[in-house]
Each structure stands twice: as C-alpha cells, then as structure tokens.
Symmetry: C2
Subunit: 335 residues, 2 copies
Amino acid sequence: MTGTVQEWHLTARPVGRPTPDDFRLVERELPAPGPGEVAVRHTYLSVDPYMRSLMSPAQTGASAYRLDAPMTGGAVGEVVESRAAGLSPGDLVLSALGWRTGAVAPADRFTLLRRVEGVADSAFLGVLGMPGLSAYVGLTEIAGLRAGETVFVSGAAGAVGSLAGQIARLRGAKAVIGSAGSDAKVAYLTDELGFTDAFNYKTAPVRTQLAKAAPDGIDVYFDNVGGDHLEAAIDALNHYGRAALCGAISGYHATEPPPGPCNMVELVKKRITLRGFEVIDHTDLQPRFADEMGGWLANGQIRFRETVEDGIDRAVEAFLGLMDGRNSGKMVVRL
Amino acid sequence: MTGTVQEWHLTARPVGRPTPDDFRLVERELPAPGPGEVAVRHTYLSVDPYMRSLMSPAQTGASAYRLDAPMTGGAVGEVVESRAAGLSPGDLVLSALGWRTGAVAPADRFTLLRRVEGVADSAFLGVLGMPGLSAYVGLTEIAGLRAGETVFVSGAAGAVGSLAGQIARLRGAKAVIGSAGSDAKVAYLTDELGFTDAFNYKTAPVRTQLAKAAPDGIDVYFDNVGGDHLEAAIDALNHYGRAALCGAISGYHATEPPPGPCNMVELVKKRITLRGFEVIDHTDLQPRFADEMGGWLANGQIRFRETVEDGIDRAVEAFLGLMDGRNSGKMVVRL
C-alpha cells in the first residue's frame, strides 16, 4: 500500500441480476495506524453468494451494504505495519474487510492465521474458511448425518457443495449425489470428488433426475439452491429425512417471490425436518472443524478447486461470474 | 350387539371434497369370539382430519383405506364377551376399529382404559387421546417450547389446536395467538380458553392479522392448516423460531398441489426449523402426557369441547362437518 488503497462501493441497489453499473472502484488515502491498530495489505479477497442478499433493498440488518461506502467480505492479507501487541509485520491475517486492496483497523478485527504446508493462503477463504465450516456444520450438526445414509447436495460443484459432498463421503454416507449446472462440473463431481452419482440440472427436471439417481430416496439434503431443487428433495426424502438449508441461490435475483414447494404436506407425512442455518452462529465449532479438515487435507482425502480472478478491478466480474455459475469451487480474487 | 353390526365402507376415492356417495353403511354378521378374542360394543367413534388423506388415490401405505372394506379409526367401547385373559365384560377399551358399531378381534387390538371421574368416556378420543398427545408432543418435543415465548396456533378451535394453545399457556408461554374460521370460535379462544389474542382467518389475510396480533413476532408455530397460514407464520417467526407441522387441512381436498410458501428463503436468514410429525411415533410419551394432562384436568386448568353427532348413520355427516369446520373441539359420534 502504503497510503492509497482501492475499494469497491455499491452505488445502486440491484433489482434482479446486478450489473457492473451498480458498483464503483474508488481510490482512498489511508491514515497511518493509530495505537492498537494495524495496516494490512490484502492478498486474496472472497466473493460469495450471500453477498447478493446484502445488496438488496429488502436487507435492513447491520450487515447490509450501505450505498457509496466500502463493501465488506472475507479477505486474507499480510500485516505491513502494526501498533498493536500480538501482530507483527509479515503476519498472515483474516478479516471481513474485503472488497479493497488493504485496510487500517483495530487489531481485534483481524484473526492471526497459521500457514498450512502445501496449501495456498486463499484456502482460508474456502476449504479452511467459512465455506468449509458451512459444509461441515450443515451436514454434521444441522442435518445430523449418520453413517450409511444417502445424501443429496445441490450446487455441488460450488465452494460449499463440493466440500459438503466430500465430508459426507468421509463421514460414512452410503451414497452421495450431487447436482451442478454443466456436464463438465458433473464429471468433476463423479470423477474427481468421489460423488456416487451426479446430474446436470439444466438438462432435465431435478425431480426426474434425482429419482433416477436415488431410487431408494435420500436421507439428508444439503440445500444451496432452493426452488425446484428443494421441492424435488422433499419428494425424495425418506421418512425422518433432514434438510440443512444453507442458501437459495436460485432466488437471489428474483424480483418477485419465487414459488414455494407445492409438496409441503409431505413434511408431515414423512416427518421431515427443514432447518435453515447461518455459519456465523457456529464458529464455536471452528477448532473441531479445523482439526478434522486439516487431517483430511494432510491425508489427501479432500480435494478442492478455486477459480481465481486477478486484480482488484476484476472483483465485480468475479462476483457476477459466481452468480452465473461460471466458477468451479471457491471463487477468489488474487491481488 | 350380538351378531349384527353396522359398518361404513369407502366405495369411491373422493377427488376434492368427499360426498356421502363415496360411502356406504353395510350390515354384517359377526362371528362369536374365538380363543384369545373379545367382542366389543362401541360407544364412541372418532372422526379426524387425517382420515381424509387415507381416502386419497395417492395414499398407498398400509393404513390407507381399501375400497368396499370397513374403515378404521379411533373407537371407545365396552367388552361384551371375552375369551381372552385380562379383559372381562364391562371393561372400557380403546381401539382403531372405528367406523362400526362393534367388532370381534384379538385382545391385543384393544387397550384397557381407566374411567376418569367426571370425564365422559369420549375424552379418550380427544383431550386424553391422540389429539391431546399430538398437541403435547408437538409443542414440547417437536417445537421445544420454552417459557416466555410467543406461540401461534392455527386451527386453534379444533381438537388439537384448542389443547395446543392451552398447553402453551400452562407451560409458560408469554402470549398465545390462535386463528379460527368464525367469530364465535375466535370468542371461544379468548374468552374461554385463555388465548391472549385470536382472529378469524376468513375475514382478512392471515399475514396481516398475525402481524397485528404479534407485533414482536412469534417464536413457535403449531400448524394444523398449512397453505397461507404456514407462509404467514414463516414471515412472523423470529430468529431461531420453530414450527411443528401437525396437519395441513387446507390442502386435504386439493385436486392439484397447493402453492407452497413463497418465502422459504427466510428459513435460512432466520435460522428457522420446520418439522413435520405424526403422533403415532411418540406413544412412548403417553404415560408422561397422561400424568400431566390428568393433573390439569383435575385442577380445572384445561377446558375442552366436543361436538357430538348421534348414531352410526351420522358418522359420514360428522366427518364432512369436520372437514368444513362445523365442529368446535373434538368431533365424535355417539352410538
């Protein structure tokens, strides 16, 4: 840095699919860090599906993006200057101060990271970060996966879905079925990630393809998509089945409410549980997750992909590409 | 009885609202009980919303009604002849051999009942029976009600709903809101059953009325209705809210799938759990329920109503009246 950073501002609240015109790249002069503060130069920024909802007019929570102000998101960076105990120049840190090339902030906004041998620092935004923890929590805590069960993961080539499917396999699932939006992604799921079966949801109705892939039904559904995927899963879920609802990317651009599942009465007949969750509520499981995931990574039992866009000026394109499913695995921006 | 009984057969699978033409009252000669069997004369028969789904063409389970065969349902009766140990003439018993004036069957099809002082035998089909246990299990086990929470019960003047609301109050809910289909029922909920607030869902949208009755949202939803009630409840549920899905009477006559809630994405944002259940899975809680409900009844803390139709020939009318909401509390047929 020091001194000047570039940061993305939201300039208009998108209705439907966002366009580049909704964002502006702004240059800003940063102050030197004050007492208790550190200056960080970012090396990787995260773009994630949840960010779409923070842009919406309907979003009113504290985390909603404000107009003409820096956006937030996961970022990995290196400390370049420190006036805080516990952080020194060269330290690798994680923060929510994304969408910018660097930041000056109080030290408690940053988490010190320990580099993992053979794994790029961007992994802290993906397999070892919130997407990994989301997959882990959703399967083990929210859906309560038991060995021997059949699992269906939608959006299974995405950052969270690809890990959810593999964790299901490593936790003893009998079969793991995935859906994805291209034949190449489908091949990736079965050939590289060890999914039992997978299908392209763009070529035939989800309901038909899921019934074929899981003739005996499914016990657990990990939902990243919502909409017709959720309806098909409710049909396929066996008695006492559980669905962990992690996201609903199919509805993120909807300008009017999407139709809901027309088979809700099945929830009673089959004693099904649908449970929504946000990973932020489960950070107490981070240490257990880091241990288990670290072990799987060290043993080569988990594979992951990243789609990398280079340069701060590509961040909006990276986000829009993610919304359109042009990523395979975690989408990150490398600075 | 002895010898001749009358029993109702389903003669056609209703599409939409059932009509009297879908049923036929048949006379049948019963054999004398064989070894291990008893003969029972019924005094009360139960008609319940779940029976509608057992009539449907789509229903394929073991419990589905067969055409031109006796229908099943809750029945209270008196043993008139016994060739089994443990049951003697005069004993009060409960069985699933309803929709008929009497039956001969193996003794293990009957549960021996202990009469409760001051309570009619029909209570074993309602407040002390499956409807009571449904309300108890749904609130305490499925939704996990905690003292101080706000509860919404749909179909709250019905057999299950009226008990769910009162159990919520007795278990320390801060507020209990009910919906019902007439102004008289609404008055019954607030004036006699102690609901904090109630509304007539036929006079204005559920969403509007629920938002007015629960300006700070609801924590628990006990669903007997589905459809627009469920959608409104999802809107009103607070973060970490839970819904126990007990039934969906709004969709029972639907000839095509009813539209689902268009706000499913709220389940993720608000970390909501929807959980369907059937009381038959929870009969292990019957003793605890009987203790607690027996105590409330003895103390006059629970009120209940029955709508009684007289005579086996009125059973179909009783069932159709139930479907149309012409009952207040448990609907029973007295023989």
